[in-house]
Symmetry: C2
Subunit: 155 residues, 2 copies
DNA sequence: TAACCTGAGTTTGACATGTGAACTCAGACT
DNA sequence: AGTCTGAGTTCACATGTCAAACTCAGGTTA
């Protein structure tokens, strides 16, 4: 290995590091799976529980924390012919996790799932395939906003 | 909330979901912080420990798992005038976490750190500022590879 | 050569958290 | 009035976390 790249200290202190701050909120066995449910539109306590197999006590605790942190909000809604219920949906702060979500999905598909991916991300308007990447200033205008994208299942 | 968006089940099973697979590997209080150290070039057991404040027993355990999973590899290296030592550096699979890293950093900076960011990501060649985003097919060629980027500290 | 220092762990034992099963409680249905 | 369902809470036990003490190998000092 190239010894000149070795550092004895990280150049950014934990308290100045957005990545470190984010991990403290997101890095828990269940939290990101709960947020995944929210992205897919599953809002009910028992539905989330059945989908991901989380113990009730833990789900209750995590939902509480996610609401405190402003990532989810508790809302009241009513499905056709059903009574009103409460559910948990993403706030703006929560929806802003989209790129984290996509980045993890891409990595997981490539390295844990033999490159298979279950969804494609499309431009909502022209249905063009979208890809996550780092791009230069002159192309910033080409970046799609969260309102302009659509997640489509394959097959 | 728009009731038509509510689902009773996630459309992608956990076992087919790259995101879910990724969370099972990464979602632990310390794992992503250890990977952060690796990105910054901190490779030694004790240096990592001092930087992030992780207990030795836990660090030992996590490094073992990260090596098993092929995200880090244990290497032998020698600094000028020091004896040979072993350290932990990113593999290709580990470096592929760059976009996850950047996505989490962007989110954490925006939502946990008042928009302050400690680093900028530049094109290694023309020092253009780079940004993470979803872009359309005709611009795929503008996406920078991991070899072409450079993380610069602000100030 | 012996004593010491440092890095990289392992062991220990108290404490915290996670877990599944059983319990609660309120609103709607019969 | 009794039952069902959704959304939790409580319990008792297994697992994980933590700080401090211990180990062990190489290199340094006396």
């Amino acid at each position: 290995m190239r010894a000149n790249k070795i550092k004895r200290r990280a150049p950014v202190k934990l308290c100045d590091c957005g990545m470190a701050a984010a991990t403290q909120i997101l890095s828990d066995k269940w939290t990101l799976l709960i947020i995944r449910e929210a992205f897919y539109g599953v809002v009910r306590f028992d539905d989330i529980r059945k989908d991901i197999g989380i113990p009730k006590a833990v789900l209750s605790n995590r939902l509480k924390k996610l609401v405190e942190q402003g990532i989810l909000q508790k809302v009241t809604y009513q499905l056709e012919g059903e009574r009103t219920r409460s559910g948990y949906v993403l706030t703006g702060k929560g929806r802003d996790l989209t790129l984290v979500f996509v980045a993890m999905m891409d990595w997981g598909n490539k390295h844990c799932l033999d490159g298979k991916s279950a969804v494609t991300i499309l431009d909502k308007n022209d249905l063009q395939t979208l890809k996550l990447g780092l791009i230069g200033e002159k192309d910033f205008a080409q970046i799609r906003g969260l309102e302009d994208i659509h997640i489509r299942l394959k097959l």
